[in-house]
């Protein structure tokens, strides 16, 4: 009797807790379901449908979209989409690497500044991103167009053909990506640097490490969580970037984002667009997984949380 009442009171507690949990989690869960799960399911469904005469999906279910994505059209196989995918990967890799190289000294420099200057310098890093991305990209178009000082300089150095201009080109896209994503790397790196005790750098030098080795052995491993967080923040959006390749690539440097966008807009082939989006998702998940593995390896067994 006593036992059963104990049990029932426990059950009541569990029920109460569950109800409490349900109420607090439900709004978020509904939000995610309506705006993430449902659209994703819809996207998947679209990808397996057939393209209709007006570019809209229709029955029957088929793998046409994926075949087209892989490059098979009614004129036989063409490598265009494959090139777009590879270009996306390559641009992401190169621009992320360049962002890292540029962001490290900036983040380190800010931590060495006096405390009252640091917020101002961080602000200076972030402020450009408050302007609309399209406007900033147009700004680069004007800076890199044929006949501008930068293009003339590159021309006179023989880096580009005469009257070609630095824009439009793959280079302009890379530059645009690096410029655009720099703050997303500087901020997490700054946070990592700020936690670092300067005495540790000095201790490393005191223990026979040259400045370069002191950085590599004492500083770099400790900024790894920041680096990985920054890489995720930079690489994933860069991979799906639409505006920058569209404007600075001039149609010659299409990335996966442009391919997808074109299918929903101009080209009007929704199933193909959906298949491209799924490919992007899969590539992103693959990238994240790889980063996690790398983080675990370099973190010395301790998990570097992304």
């Amino acid at each position: 009797m006593v036992e059963s009442s104990l049990l029932s009171s426990r059950r009541r507690a569990v029920v109460g807790e569950t109800r409490h949990l349900l109420f607090s989690v439900a709004p978020g869960a509904v939000w995610i379901f309506v705006f993430l799960v449902l659209p994703s399911v819809y996207l998947m469904a679209v990808a397996f449908m057939t393209n209709g005469p007006y570019g809209l999906p229709q029955m029957p279910l088929s793998l046409d979209a994926f075949e087209q994505l892989a490059g098979f059209g009614f004129l036989g196989w063409s490598p265009g989409n494959l090139y777009t995918l590879l270009r996306s990967l390559w641009q992401t890799l190169v621009s992320t690497a360049l962002v890292v190289v540029v962001a490290y000294p900036i983040a380190y420099y800010i931590t060495t500044c006096r405390e009252k200057w640091r917020p101002i310098m961080l602000l200076a890093v972030v402020v450009p991103s408050w302007t609309n991305q399209v406007i900033r990209t147009f700004g680069w178009m004007n800076l890199l167009a044929p006949g501008t000082p930068l293009s003339d300089l590159a021309d006179s150095l023989g880096l580009i053909g005469p009257h070609m201009g630095l824009y439009p080109s793959n280079f302009a896209v890379t530059l645009g990506l690096v410029y655009n994503f720099l703050p997303f790397m500087v901020l997490p790196l700054y946070a990592a640097f700020e936690k670092l005790d300067v005495a540790q750098v000095q201790a490393a030098q005191d223990l026979y490490a040259s400045p370069v080795r002191a950085f590599w052995h004492a500083v770099f491993p400790q900024t790894l969580p920041g680096l990985l967080a920054g890489t995720v923040l930079v690489a994933i959006p860069a991979f799906g970037m639409y505006v920058i390749p569209e404007l600075l690539g001039g149609g010659k440097s299409m990335m996966l984002g442009n391919l997808v966008a074109n299918q929903f807009a101009g080209g009007s082939n929704w199933p193909l667009g959906a298949a491209g989006a799924i490919l992007m998702l899969l590539a992103t998940f693959g990238g994240l997984y790889a980063m996690r593995r790398i983080g675990k390896r370099l973190g010395g067994g301790e998990e570097v949380v992304i």
């Binding site: 005790d197 005495a199 540790q200 000095q202 201790a203 490393a204 030098q205 005191d206 223990l207 026979y208 490490a209 040259s210 080795r213 002191a214 052995h217 004492a218 491993p221 400790q222 010395g300």
Partner: protein, 379 residues
Amino acid sequence: MSDPTAAATAATQQAETSGADTREARPREASSIELKGLHKRFGKDTVALDGVDLTIEAGEFFTLLGPSGCGKTTLLRILAGLEAPNDGRLLIGGKDVTDTPPHRRSVNTVFQSYALFPHLSVRDNLAFGLRMRGEPAAERHRKVDEVAEFIQLGSLVERRVEQLSGGQKQRIALARALICEPDVLLLDEPLSALDAGLRSQLQVELQRLQKRLGMTFVFVTHDQDEAMVMSDRIAVLDGGIIQQVGTPNEVYEHPANAFVARFMGHDNLFAISASEDDWVDTELGRLRLDPAEQRDDQAGWLLIRPETLELDGEVPEGYNRLEGTVEERLYRGSRIEYRLSVNGRTLMAVASNLGQRMHDVGDRVTISVCPEDLVRVAA
């Protein structure tokens, strides 16, 4: 190796280390340190060191003592190479290392914050210096085991740094520097973060360790008791200037000036208004002292060490005699401290607690002090 004496030194060292047991070869050739006219400024008008000349003997336990901001840590950082002097030269083992970067100096530092690497295990922390010097992995492993055994933390080498207690971190920091067998070991207030009991235990351990290794230790502290317990010699710094260099008892018993006297914990300093032959006039009255203590200038201070005052009974022949009132009594267990009022001035006295009757607050006491115990101190 252009210097023939240095080559000879290296040769003897070689001969020593090639002997039966390399561990027994220590104490090895320790290094002396010479500082010549060191100046260091930060920014435009912050002077950290204002002309420091100092010689630290090989194998000495030398302490830089002074209040915060006196320049002692700057001096230590210059020895380590982490800071460059604006002017002056620094010689270690007879070799000018003023412009040598820290990673090329055979000098290791125990940092105040320990500065252990949180991303490395204790073992990798200990091996860091050896690894940077390019010693093979097997050798590193052996030396780490050896040194971990030596500091009695052998069971902790595979742990992570944040799993250690403060005292353990302190030992690891010390061992990480010692394992490299530097010519000079620098210690930047390494005990300041520890509680009192552990600190006094480690003071003794450090001092014994230094004697056993015969290595030159340069120790920085603001705690005069710590300095006196551990050091062979002490340099007292203030305002970037060395105020006095001497053995602990020289610095304590014959401070060079009022600053050193106050810093060494002396309260009983009285301005001298006039002096001749074997007497001085002070705020307490006229006191006799050893004529050898007399100085040419009239100004300055008279130092009366509280433990030289006798409060009970007879005033022996030739002793100074003062009359005072007990204003306050502090019972310290092994000793009793009295705050006395003499001629309206405060005089501190300390008596060993030998079980005698204690004086109560308000008691009139007769104070006697031997003339030889009075010390004249420059202003």
